[in-house]
Amino acid sequence: MSREHELDPTLSAYLDGALPEEQQADLRARLAASPALRARLAELAAVDEALRALPGPVAGEALKQRLRARIAEGAPATSPRARRPGRAAAPPSRRHGALRWAARASFAASALFVAWVAVGPSPLSSPQGPADRVPAPSDAVSSAIPDDFLVSESHADLEVIGVLDLLAGLDGLDESEATSG
């Protein structure tokens, strides 16, 4: 490190206006005597200049309007990621409806298999087909899942939904067994 660079912390503090008065006088004397030190100061100052010249976004009227609307609705502070553009473009229930029902269909098939193993092959030969014996996913269970829970598209979420549906299916199976018996 050159001697000029040894004074970098002092030069940096000088640029920030954070150098005590007595040190400023000393530094000015050094600067007057050293072209290299002046050049170094200019290099550090060039960084600030370059930063100030960087392009950046502008907070325009649209942003202000959005803020007004949120203030008017008394919006609580929440995670920025939860309101990312695109996320709010469609209600979660619609966006994930296909995924939810695919998961339910998958677990309904599993429920059918479980029912077949538990009850035996006879239901297959009964007048009522297996589809009649495994009720459709309960609306009550479905509505118990908060919409915001469905924002995530993770596999784990789908598994939870499926398990809930499976349990609902088995509950319905028990009830139908009880009534038919």
Binding site: H5, D16, Q24, E43, L51, V58, A77, P80
Partner: protein, 199 residues
């Protein structure tokens, strides 16, 4: 701010007009995602709106605003999985030799305008690679002109730490702009009077 505290909503809009773009630029440099920066900006002004009773006129409004905004940005940066999505593996130590940053001296300098653009690109890229606190401290000092005491408040640290953070960040970026102590590209060295400290 005091007018807004008395219930003048127009004063709040005036605060937004005056400070929002400056805060947005800071947030954009911190989180590196324009959409997230906009959301953080709104969060910050929502908090200002809700917390107006807590504001003390003893503090500068800008310090309070950038403290709230800086906290929001830090929270965002600490969200799970955030680091993987927005920080490159070579972004850890800009003073080390691991990050192959583009040096301005390596760029062809055809004219002043083109050179200035290249310097801007190189400095912007180098700024992104700085550690979060160095980036914040340098921006608040060099661009916002905040004092070390104000930055210390915003970053919840000491003035001594701020001095070190700003110094390290500035020296790191100086290596990009002027490697090996040589002025890169067309002369842009301001005179001594122009580079004088803020007093």
């Amino acid at each position: 701010m005091q007018a807004f505290q008395r219930g003048d909503e127009q004063a709040f809009e005036a605060l937004f007009d005056r400070w929002a773009t400056r805060l947005l630029r800071f947030l954009d440099r911190m989180v590196k995602e324009p959409a997230v920066a906009e959301e953080l900006l709104q969060e910050t002004f929502l908090r200002v709106h809700r917390s107006r009773a807590n504001y003390s006129p003893d503090a500068k409004f800008s310090t309070w605003l950038f403290t709230i905004g800086g906290n929001a940005a830090r929270n965002e940066l600490r969200r799970p999985f955030r680091r993987h999505a927005h920080e490159r593996p070579d972004a850890v130590d800009p003073e080390g030799d691991r990050a192959p940053l583009q040096l301005v001296a390596d760029l062809p300098a055809s004219d002043d305008v083109a050179h200035a653009r290249r310097v801007g690109d190189a400095v912007g890229a180098a700024l992104e690679r700085l550690p979060e606190r160095q980036r914040a401290a340098l921006w608040l000092s060099a661009v916002e002109g905040q004092s070390h005491a104000e930055i210390a408040t915003a970053l919840d640290t000491s003035e001594k730490s701020v001095k070190a953070l700003v110094h390290r960040a500035r020296v790191s970026l100086a290596r990009i702009v002027t490697p090996d102590g040589e002025q890169a590209g067309p002369p842009r060295t301001p005179g001594l009077a122009e580079t004088g400290g803020r007093t």
